[in-house]
Amino acid sequence: MQELICILCPKGCHLLIDEKDDYKVTGNACPKGAVYGREELLHPVRVVTSTVRVNSKKHPRLSVKTDTAIPKEDVFKAMALLNGVEVTPPIRLGQVILENILGSGANFVATRTIEA
């Protein structure tokens, strides 16, 4: 049995996952928790949020995120990819900043608008 706290929402359900019973999850308040508990043990993923440089005095940095979760073990590698990036306004929310991170299919996208 493995014990986990679900991170999907602020409720923070205490999950019990039985590896011996095909990763059956108990303690979840919603179906998402069951998926999370199983996935977290088999191949955990995280959404990464960070920033990139902006060619702007008013807004030196643009906030970005991965548009889907990426494997947890790739988080630092994904962060390193952002180091060389500089964008120039205008930037639209949701605009792709870096495509197909480490072949995962996930993209870094802008999480805000910066006007020109």
Partner: protein
């Protein structure tokens, strides 16, 4: 100073103090209710408030049913402003607010429009909160550089693009501290520990998991920093275990070499303008005392968001602020009946830290009244939240678990409230 003697530049239906999530939601809700002349005054150079620097995700699950980052959450409301005709003054500071029976007026100041006197039929206070500092918690030791409140560090890192240290200790396990622990690690720093004086964390469980556990950062509960060393820049700290009275236990000292201490030791509603306007403040929340319409002790002045009480979730700020905006609109439009209703005062005992609202007006418009509160102690097994009028129980709610770090709420049906004798209700926790 009477209103009549002033040559006012502007006259608004509603002026909202603060353009963060609370102010935006209140202004939009008031507009939806049909208010025409609305102004938002924001001291920063853009709208969005603290959400702009909260670049992590986790916002909006409750309100939008999807997970957003802070800037994304803010931008939805900023987008909604377009076409509403709501005026916005950026880079502008409200210097004071004066409330009389007949009007509310403010002095504001900014680079573009200079110094102005403004008048409004109603006001929504949405100034947010500030962080407790080292001075407020009195950490012994020297006073080197490298001691930051977590929010200040967050601004440097996320907005300005500067790192503030390489080896970091976090004092306090509030959410901003936890979030910043992860941010610092992701940006290449080493976070040695998160130190919490209470036997429980002040932050959300999910943040402990994904900000500390993911990066093997130890959370030291019942510990505190008892000395900060370093002359120019932090060189190290002493961490000590504390007993049940929060007093450091001799012999438990551990030394950490570090160059940075981030403080996440609490937030304080920012109510200087409120106090100077002689609006009644609740010492438990450090925010104004309000009824369920978020109306303060001053007529036509409403409050919402972190200026009222510190929230853990912006989603609830949004809902609360919409209620304030609607109430402001009703006030201006004269939709409220002139009848004086019975008002119940909500008290707390040692099990509950505070409630918001602190007063409930038993008008006919509200069938169900939501009351937010924080417990003072952990209930890790099911417990009851009881509402009593002193002689009899009015309502009872079962909660699976409650933590001081997580705001709770109950919904009180008016039919039950009507049964209360006297004018005081007490809210408390009872073990099952």
């Amino acid at each position: 100073m009477g209103c009549e003697t002033y040559d006012f530049d502007q006259m608004y239906d509603l002026i909202v103090l603060g353009g963060g999530p609370a102010g935006l939601a209140a202004a939009l809700a008031a507009h939806d209710q049909g208010l025409d002349k609305i102004l938002i005054v924001e001291r920063d150079k853009e709208l969005g408030g603290i959400l702009n620097q909260c670049i992590h995700n986790g916002f909006g699950l409750h309100y939008f049913k999807e997970e957003l980052t802070g800037p994304e959450y803010a931008e939805r409301f900023i987008d909604d402003l377009k076409g509403t005709g709501i005026d916005v003054l950026l880079d502008t500071m409200v210097l004071d607010l004066e409330v009389t029976d007949r009007c509310r007026f403010l002095h504001v100041m900014g680079v573009e429009r200079g110094y102005q006197a403004l008048r409004a039929k109603s006001v929504v206070l949405a100034m947010g909160c500030r962080e407790r500092t080292r001075g407020a918690i009195q950490i012994p030791g020297s006073r080197p550089a490298g001691v930051f409140t977590a929010g200040t560090a967050q601004r440097y890192v996320n907005i300005e693009g500067w790192m503030v240290g390489k080896r970091v200790i976090i004092l306090g396990s509030g959410d901003i501290g936890l979030i910043m622990a992860r941010r610092m690690v992701l940006e290449g720093a080493e976070v040695l520990a998160c130190v919490e004086i209470m036997p429980y964390s002040g932050g959300l469980n999910r943040n402990i998991v994904q900000c500390l556990n993911d990066y093997d950062i130890p959370l030291l509960l019942s510990h505190t920093i008892t000395n900060i060393e370093g002359h120019e820049r932090v060189e190290g700290v002493t961490v000590q275990q504390v007993d049940e009275h929060l007093t450091p236990i001799p012999g438990t000292e551990t030394h950490y070499d570090c160059d940075t201490v981030l403080l996440s030791v609490g937030l304080i509603p920012e109510n200087e303008i409120t106090r100077e306007a002689d609006i009644a403040i609740d010492p438990r929340t450090s925010g104004p005392i309000v009824n369920q319409h978020m109306e303060t002790s001053a007529p036509g002045v409403f409050a919402c968001g972190n200026v009222l009480h510190v929230h853990d979730l912006v989603d609830f700020v949004t809902e609360e602020s919409q209620a304030a905006g609607i109430a402001a609109a009703n006030y201006v439009q004269g939709k409220r009946s002139a009848e004086v209703y019975r008002t119940l005062e909500l008290k707390t005992d040692k099990t509950v830290g505070y409630t918001v609202p602190q007063k409930i007006e038993l008008s006919d418009d509200d069938n169900l009244i939501r009351v937010f509160f924080r417990v003072r102690q952990i209930s890790d097994k099911p417990a009851y939240v009881v509402v009593s009028d002193g002689t009899k129980e009015i309502a009872r709610f079962k909660k699976p678990f409650m933590f001081p770090g997580e705001m709770q709420h109950i919904r009180l049906p008016k039919v039950l409230l009507d049964k209360a004798d006297g004018n005081t209700l007490t809210v408390f926790v009872e073990e099952v």
